[in-house]
């Protein structure tokens, strides 16, 4: 399938989700369940996308695991988004250099 079909489908779906509540359906959501559900969606979704995929995103499971641990520890201590992302990249780079030496 053409990549532009995918891009159009992604962009259109995302835009409709953003634009309809601003233009057509402007009433607040009354259902407490739906509001709670939407509150938890980002956390559940980001977690499912990150683990275990991060383990298989690098040359070796060890460097992926190292990046995960470093990121979780730094994030736990409230480090900024950029610090956490860069530290996980550096971890992968260093661990893979070490692994290639062994």
């Amino acid at each position: 399938m053409s990549i532009y079909a995918y891009i159009a489908a992604m962009a259109l779906t995302t835009y409709l989700i953003r634009v309809l509540p601003l233009t057509v359906f402007r009433k607040p959501i009354k259902s407490r369940f739906v509001r709670s559900f939407l509150h938890y969606v980002p956390y559940a979704c980001l977690t499912a996308m990150t683990f275990p995929a991060i383990l298989y995103s690098t040359e070796s499971v060890i460097s992926g695991l190292g990046a995960l641990i470093v990121a979780v520890v730094l994030a736990f201590f409230g480090k900024s988004l950029l610090t956490v992302s860069l530290a996980s990249c550096v971890t992968v780079f260093l661990l893979e250099r070490i692994i290639s030496l062994i």
Binding site: L22, L82, S85, V92
Partner: protein, 236 residues
């Protein structure tokens, strides 16, 4: 007056734009590492302006998934924007017409939404449009540079840059999970489900998009049922 409001919005958005630039650099590098053309990677960022949705979308493009799977995955992952647009709509009031809303909706990302909601003065169209400018440029420009650099950088640097988005996701999830038990439960549930879909024979044949959808919907639904959010949080 209008121009001043626009500039005020632009200034307010700059920190977000800088943050987006660095993260989308990772997205661009990752996209070309997986075989996309640099122009296509940039086009995705310029038309979508969302991290998690694009990241999942990239996985589906690489996997050659069906279009309906792409649409369903985007619907679930980006469903939170509907809630944000609703809240933003309440805050904007009825003074702002439909045409500007069509433009403002495009820029409603998590961070821009947070900035708009934190505003104490009444929201104006020039301010909201200004707010989106640097985040949009940062996100698209970062992807472009990441994609161009990605094809030039050595393999080992490219691989390392590939974990950048994961690092960002972890930085978003961990602090609230540490503070709010219900979020921690949502994270734990999604984690366990995601592992099952990766490692249990049979279940691991479920495609990437659908398994993200199932993990997200199941974990969020269980938590919404166990820990409904208090009513005050609607405005947050």
């Amino acid at each position: 007056m209008k121009w001043k409001e626009y500039c005020r919005g632009v200034r307010r958005g700059v920190p977000v734009g800088v943050g987006y630039f660095s993260v989308s650099f990772g997205f661009g590098a990752m996209a070309v590492a997986q075989g996309l053309k640099w122009l296509d990677a940039t086009l995705i960022s310029a038309t979508n302006l969302t991290s998690a949705g694009q990241f999942a979308g990239l996985t589906l493009i690489i996997a050659g998934a069906g279009l309906w799977e792409m649409i369903l995955t985007q619907l679930v992952i980006n469903s939170r924007y509907a809630l944000m647009s609703l809240a933003l709509s309440q805050k904007m009031g009825s003074r702002i017409g439909v045409l500007p809303r069509l433009a403002i909706a495009f820029f409603n990302t998590d961070e821009i939404f947070a900035l708009a909601m934190a505003e104490t003065q009444p929201l104006t169209v020039p301010f909201l449009l200004g707010l989106g400018l640097t985040p949009f440029l940062g996100w698209t420009g970062g992807t472009l540079l990441g994609a161009l650099a990605g094809s030039a950088l050595p393999e080992m640097v490219r691989v390392a840059l590939g974990v950048m988005l994961y690092g960002m996701f972890i930085a978003i999830v961990v602090p609230p999970a540490r503070q709010e038990k219900p979020v921690l439960v949502a994270v734990a549930l999604a984690l366990v489900l995601s592992c099952l879909f990766t490692w249990v024979p049979g279940l691991n044949r479920v495609s990437a998009g659908i398994s993200i959808v199932i993990c997200t919907v199941a974990a969020a639904a269980v938590c919404a049922w166990l820990f409904p959010i208090p009513d005050e949080e609607v405005e947050a």
